[in-house]
């Protein structure tokens, strides 16, 4: 068993917590005693922040739509199909026909990359996220 220090996935307070890992599975969550925000305390969401990680409903494979239905596919197929579609739409309608939503639940690095992708690769400023919702 080991405890891994990380930050809670829920609200904007930014509590430091430990994820308890047993045999490659996260089985618990506990507050850090010294973290300046959590200070040995978590709310109910923090104490149970790990419960969705191993949910049986997690997506296990990329899905692509075939004959109207979403069916499992390989990473290569899903990525190729997305890249081809984005390129086709950009060529036909221009870059501003593509919109991208980044995420208040993803990391800074991921948000940075997606806005760079929007601006430098697609060529549009149509990038936003749910800050207002």
């Amino acid at each position: 068993m080991r405890d891994v220090m990380t930050i809670c996935c829920y609200c904007g307070c930014g509590c430091g917590l430990y994820l308890r890992v047993v045999n490659g599975r996260v089985v618990g969550s506990a507050p850090s005693r010294n973290h300046p925000v959590s200070k040995n305390n978590l709310c109910v969401k923090g104490w149970h922040a790990h419960e969705h990680i191993h949910s049986p409903q997690r997506l296990t494979s990329p899905l692509v739509r075939k004959d109207g239905r979403l069916v499992p596919a390989s990473w290569d197929e899903a990525l190729d199909r997305t890249a081809t579609a984005l390129k086709r739409i950009k060529d036909r309608y221009g870059p501003d026909a593509i919109g991208l939503l980044a995420s208040a639940k993803c990391t800074n690095e991921e948000n940075y990359l997606l806005q760079k992708f929007a601006r430098a690769v697609i060529g549009t400023n149509n990038i936003d996220h749910c800050a207002r919702l």
Binding site: V4, M5, T6, I7, Y10, G12, C13, G14, V21, G24, V26, H35, P36, V37, C43, H48, E51, H52, I53, H54, L59, T60, P62, L70, W75, R81, T82, L86, K87, I89, A97, I98, L100, L101, S103, K105, C106, T107, N108, E109, E110, N111, Y112, L113, L114, Q115, K116, F117, R119, V121, G123, N125, N126, I127, D128, H129, C130, A131, R132, L133
Partner: protein, 534 residues
Amino acid sequence: MTFGSGAMTNSIAEIEHAQVVLVSGSNTTETHPQIARRIYDAVDNGAKLIVIDPRRTQIARHAHLHLQIRPGTDIPLLNAMMRSILDENLVDDLFIEMRTENYFAMRDKLYQVDISQAATICGVDADSIRLAARMYARAQRSVICYCLGVTQHVCGTDNVRSYANLAMLTGHVEQEFTGVDPLRGQNNVQGACDMGALPAVLPGYMPVADETARTKFQRAWGGKLPEKPGMTVLEMTHPADGKVKAMYIMGENPAVSDPDLSRVRHSLDHLEFLAVADIFLTDTARLADVVFPAVTFAEKTGTITSSERRVQLLHKAIEPVASAWPDDRIIMELSRRLGYPMDYESPAEIMEEICMLTPIYGGMYHDRLDAEWGVQWPCAGREHGSTQFLHKFSFARGRGWFEPAEHQAPVESADADFPYILVTGRVYHHFHTGTMTRRSQLHNREYSQSLIEIHPEDAEKLSVAEGEHVRLTSRRGDCAFIVTITDRVSPGHVFANFHFTEAPVNFLTVKQSDPVAKCPEYKVCAVRIEKVAA
């Protein structure tokens, strides 16, 4: 925009040393429990607590003064408070002289304000307004905490400016333990904004329309960057003329979270192409052409930025579940396929690039964040320390700008056909569209049904009892809920949350938004209520 940057001016730990805490439009106990804890600590230390909220939330019950205003009447309330501060000569003249501009326009505006008239608009008594003004202005260390109850109105920007006006009028900014603190709802809203995941700004809030800013990023990224600000999320999900043909959505669920859902789902469904990366098959993912399985916070490394501007490192606890990928890897692979190779060995290397291009993140190298409890921006470089509170000696924009504001009535008001006002929000056990908390056994046990809060008087009028079912109908759609009878809401008002995919309250809400910030008006929507069989 009055001070020059959108972030908490203080640190969370400072709140416990405040003498007066003014909480507005925030159900702090349920949605920001650690901040509520600091507020209660402050009260234990003798601080006075003022709560402005149309609902009698738990924190409102603990307040020394609860101003239970009608939804959407923050501006008349604040103007009246400021008028009272002028009348009682509690203005901080030195601060106004040294640190602000446009004060005379503000003062002239306030001299036209009639406190008793404002009290009628807000539905509270004039003496309470005067008392709140006196409490807030007289203390040395007063802090304002506000949340989406302030911003999710058609006049959201003016609401925020009014709170800033109040703080400047009394000199309650620029110091430790006193300031204006917007509470951020998600773990990385602050960071996503900081990183330029916004249509009008590049990382570090540099405007895309500014040539110098664009040149800087063009040099680093190559190519030519678009100069016209892009569309906001509501412009993408409510396109006027089908201008959006394809979307890539990373970890968001607009098919539940956005207002006026029939239109949102219609436009997502009619895209030529939609790709969604998420951890579950959300309602948005169900509409997609391609779905990528992404990882949770436990399976990745990277940084997130909290409400108090603290950039902290996530540590990977386990390998990705099944064949899921972190979002950065998905973006890099797509970029490579589109002829723009992005080669980063690790999130730490992406952060190096962010540090070089984003002055407020200049010193946020991963190794350094790991050596302390994260670092609060602005942090210009490795030698620069963490910034506990903002606007010491000067505002980000130089002088603070007073912007007088006028009351603007909400888009909808109660009438004969739609006699109730619906306010939407969140509950303690669930989070946003519920994709994570609804899959947690404990949260589902504690709060398993989509409840609507109805006042006892209204319940009697509608002859509904606790646990019975009702259907709400607005001008845009309808949705069924289970009744809970409580005096948390006032008569004529009902409250529902948007956490339940089986009761998507956003089929009812209005899409009209603030013209500057583009926050939709989630806090006011006229509805009618009918009892239905279970």
